[in-house]
Amino acid sequence: MTEAAFTADDFQPAAAAHSAQAASRPSLSYWQDAWIRLKANRRALSSLYLVIGLLLFTLIGPLIWTVDPSLQDLEQISQPPGADRNAVVVAPHSPWNGVARQPLGGGLGLAEPPTTQSVRLAWEPLPDAAGYRLYRNLFPYEPGQPLGLPLFATFNADRRHFEDRLDLKPRTYHYSVAGLDAQGEVTGAVRSLEVAVARVVTAQDAQDIGLVADAGQLSPGDRIKLRAHPLGTDYLGRDLLARLMAGARVSLFIGIAAPLLFIAFGVIYGAAAGFLGGLADQALMRFSDFVVALPFLLFMILLRVASGVQPGESGITPMVLAMVLLSWPAAARLVRGQILQIREEGYVSAARLLGGSAPYLVLRHMIPNTLGVILVTMTFAVPTAIFTEAFLSFIGMGVAPPTPSWGSMCNEGIKTMLTTPHELIFPALFISVTVLAFNLLGDGLRDALDARMRSAE
């Protein structure tokens, strides 16, 4: 047996074992944790950057690219991006009496240098011609092939000049003049001419589109660079980039305002239904089923008519109203389901035992616990709303001209899809990218916020 020897020190309280109990990492709130998870998700993160970029494009863009989206640059109609912008200043157009200012070659010749303002043609008499028909083509004349677009016909054999002003582009045209017999049939005598048209602009037009402050600064012969249009122009010469920015404002406004409103309403409605339960829950949810059954498009058109949208006014308000009136049930159902679940949780029972009032229980315990779900629904609702707006504008139920929106721009672009595809491609691209970005972001948020997804990892 050994003798136990205790000292006084042995009776001192042990020092707290700091090392074992200390938190090795800082404690994380729900939101911090979600943010870390979101950051780890590359796809979601890049779509978040896209969404931020889009917001900058919409809000800051017009401050940098300060072009009026409804300014019509008629010198550059339907220009693709990166087109040549050099032009020569000319005098305004004045009627022509057919006198040639420069000598004609044999047959068909130019009376003046050809410009995008006008091509003035004159021709020598053709054998046995009682009249003439003038054609314009994109291809050189080949016997037996069609001569192109007939521009002018006359049965006066002495009328041997014509001024073409129709939609002249700075490119090469092939003009042909064919002799006509007394019956109006082509005699077979054809003279042809290749014409390379130069781009010109008048001083007044240069002032109208804001190239110079005063038309007097320019004199005929001056070289000038036309306005730059990074994404090209539409069918009225309006800058596509500026219109996309202006259109984004409409699209994003509807895309964000409408979901905010209908989800707010859906949350209140669903929370009320879930919390009250019983007969009230039944009644409220059956009503939401009824709303789901309403056809959206018909209702939209009815609402537009009923709200008395005057011609020329944009239908944005009735559009948002219709979306709010028809889209809230999804959010309401989701929130109701969550509330039903949360209502039975221990902490809610505890709070109720401690005398928490109904509004306190809902606002303090229930809704905060559904926030994740609400946020995810919201992110998925945004692209749907943007798409709905684009669709309604596309069928002409949306904004009124000259206000652009991506949908109405697509509608305009589709008419010239084959000749100038950029007018359709850019707005369509913006719609697609926006919808995709919001969808991917919603996906990432769901992964980051949903507790069940987390436990499954």
């Binding site: 409804s70 300014l71 019509q72 008629l74 109609i77 157009h93 083509n137 994109l138 291809f139 092939q145 069609p146 192109g148 677009l149 007939p150 521009l151 016909a153 002003r165 129709l166 939609d167 002249l168 109208d208 069918y235 009225l236 005057q310 011609p311 020329g312 006014e313 002409g396 009124a400 001209p401 000259p402 008419k415 010239t416 899809m417 084959l418 000749t419």
Partner: protein, 569 residues
């Protein structure tokens, strides 16, 4: 040890499992692919079955001697006494024939009337014995008298009633001052029609080719109980074709009318209106796919037509388009200086050549298009129209003056009513920008479909309207009386005693120089009073199926006319 063996065997098993799973997956994928291919093939087969069963016929069906065409819009109805629009005119031109008609060269030719005599006081028409309705009954003089009374009946409210005013008591009957029986048209016997004139008229023969003058049989009209002309069965046909089916909004089918008297001139057995669309891209694709025999070209698809090396035709259809002002009380457009300001602030040349870019259009200069005949040559050559050149300084001065006269600080936004089609959409947005930039005026665009636009025009629910007019008969009066104060087609309600006086002269005088001087005076008043802003004269660039010949385009009468067309073997 045993543990590691088990693990190893597990691993081997895993590998085997993975291989078999991959095989299974591959097989499954293959089966899916084959299944999908089979499904698509089946669907395709089904689609082709339905296409041959009930789908649209090809453009040219030589076996059945039939062609397929399209219409831009559906005729609202085909009651000839109430028809106003071009599409109705086109269809009526195929299924109806009046006393006279226009032939393939655009000359007047005998129709139901075999011969006729016109003098200063009246006309007598002798109807042919073999002219029959599509139910086999003869067309009688009474059918014309009934139709004309119907056209003038105030209860019928026909917008074209005015075109019957040359008949004695026509205007009084239309205004309800005299009973219908007092109209100066009388069926002497079944085959003799006598017409008394209100005042001497120089062009009555041309009028009788117009739709409002077409016959309507009384017993059939009464049996239709107000639905006359609403469907294929609710119409009796007097022309070379008869409508055998009319699916509203979709298609019409016109078959040869076996009771038509002049069978020799009709070479086709069937004309199907397979498509009703105003979308130019759809029409171009239909033509490219050989679904329709003719289509017009727009600025957008002109280049693709050139690249296809189609033979392009051009035709001035005689229609003019203009910006019409609302001259009603209370509208700012009632003010002359305001109208002058708008007229001076725009340039129809720029509109036509740069904005609409439509091949064939000519800038508008006058109410009277270039095809109209004058005394010796063309009216417009004898009386050149005065044209306002764009002048911004003058325009702004007029606007200031208008503001003072109206006592307005700012003009309210103007409502610009327009049709909903690509050309007028571009045009409205152009005008919106031009008037904003040059005059600082706000324009609200009101796009409406055809029927709705007509209703709004009639109600005066606009400040400016993009309107157009095609000739009803080959005389300047068809344009000239458009702005007579009593004309219901004068939607802006322009009223001027001086203008009305000239219209009366042109209506009553028999000699060309007096009448042409009156038209020149009207042209001057229109210009100086700025009743309208002429936009353009419409021309059409179009392509036709190479095997279909004899398609007639005409300025006056039904355009396009397929009744003379045939299929080249």
């Amino acid at each position: 040890m045993s543990l590691t063996v088990a693990q190893a065997s597990d691993r081997r098993g895993d590998a085997a499992f993975n291989r078999s799973a991959a095989r299974q997956l591959g097989l499954f994928g293959l089966a899916t692919l084959i299944g999908l291919a089979a499904l698509m093939w089946g669907l395709n087969l089904l689609a082709s079955l339905t296409a041959t069963a009930g789908g649209a016929p090809p453009a040219v069906d030589a076996a059945n001697n039939a062609i397929t065409v399209m219409l831009a819009e559906e005729p609202p109805q085909l009651d000839s006494t109430r028809a106003t629009d071009q599409v109705s005119g086109l269809v009526l031109g195929h299924v109806m024939e009046g006393l006279l008609r226009y032939d393939q060269r655009g000359e007047l030719a005998p129709g139901v009337a075999e011969h006729w005599r016109i003098d200063e006081t009246g006309a007598t028409f002798r109807l042919r014995a073999d002219a029959r309705w599509s139910d086999g009954q003869p067309i009688t003089a009474h059918d014309f008298v009934f139709a004309w009374r119907l056209g003038l009946d105030p209860a019928n409210a026909s917008q074209y009633a005015f075109i019957l005013y040359p008949i004695k008591n026509g205007e009084a009957v239309n205004q309800g001052r005299l009973p219908l029986t007092e109209l100066g048209a009388r069926a002497v016997d079944a085959r003799t029609l006598e017409v008394a004139f209100e005042r001497p008229i120089a062009f009555f023969d041309k009028l009788t080719a117009f739709a409002t003058y077409l016959p309507v049989r009384e017993d059939f009209y009464r049996a239709a109980e107000g639905r006359y002309g609403a469907g294929a069965d609710q119409l009796l046909y007097s022309g070379p074709f008869a409508i055998t089916s009319w699916v509203h909004g979709q298609s019409l089918q016109l078959d040869r009318n076996p009771h038509y008297w002049d069978q020799a001139r009709v070479r086709l057995d069937r004309i199907s209106v397979g498509y009703i669309t105003s979308d130019p891209n759809t029409r171009l694709n239909l033509f490219k796919d050989e679904k329709i025999v003719m289509t017009g070209l727009t600025a957008e698809n002109l280049n693709s037509a050139l690249e296809q090396r189609w033979r392009i035709h051009r035709f001035m259809d005689g229609s003019i388009f203009y910006l019409e002002f609302n001259h009603r009380e209370g509208r700012p457009t009632r003010n002359l200086n305001f109208r002058k300001a708008l007229a001076l602030a725009q340039d129809s040349g720029e509109l036509v050549y740069k904005v609409t870019k439509a091949p064939g259009y000519l800038p508008g200069e006058s109410l009277f298009p270039r095809f109209l005949d004058g005394v010796h040559g063309k009216f417009r050559d004898e009386h050149p129209a005065r044209v306002r050149q764009m002048d911004l300084r003058a325009a702004r001065a007029h606007l200031r003056q208008a503001r003072q006269e109206l006592g307005l600080d700012e003009f309210p936004p103007l409502v610009l009513l327009a049709g909903d089609n690509p050309v007028s959409n571009v045009q409205t947005e152009y005008f919106q920008a031009v008037f904003k930039r040059n005059l600082g005026l706000d324009i609200k665009i009101d796009r409406q479909i055809f029927k709705q636009r007509l209703a709004k025009m009639t109600a005066g629910d606009f400040d400016l309207v993009l309107a157009g007019w095609g000739p009803d008969y080959n005389d300047p009066l068809t344009f000239g009386d458009l702005f007579a104060s009593w004309n219901l087609n004068n939607r802006g309600r322009y009223a001027s005693a001086a203008y009305d006086r000239q219209v009366r002269i042109a209506q009553g005088a028999m000699d060309a120089p007096t009448r042409m001087a009156a038209f020149a005076e009207m042209q001057r008043i229109i210009h100086e009073d700025v009743v309208i802003i002429p936009n353009y004269e419409r021309g059409v660039a179009y392509v036709t199926h190479p095997r279909v010949k004899g398609i007639v385009r005409r300025v006056v009468g039904a355009d396009t006319d397929y009744t003379y067309a045939w299929i080249d073997p």
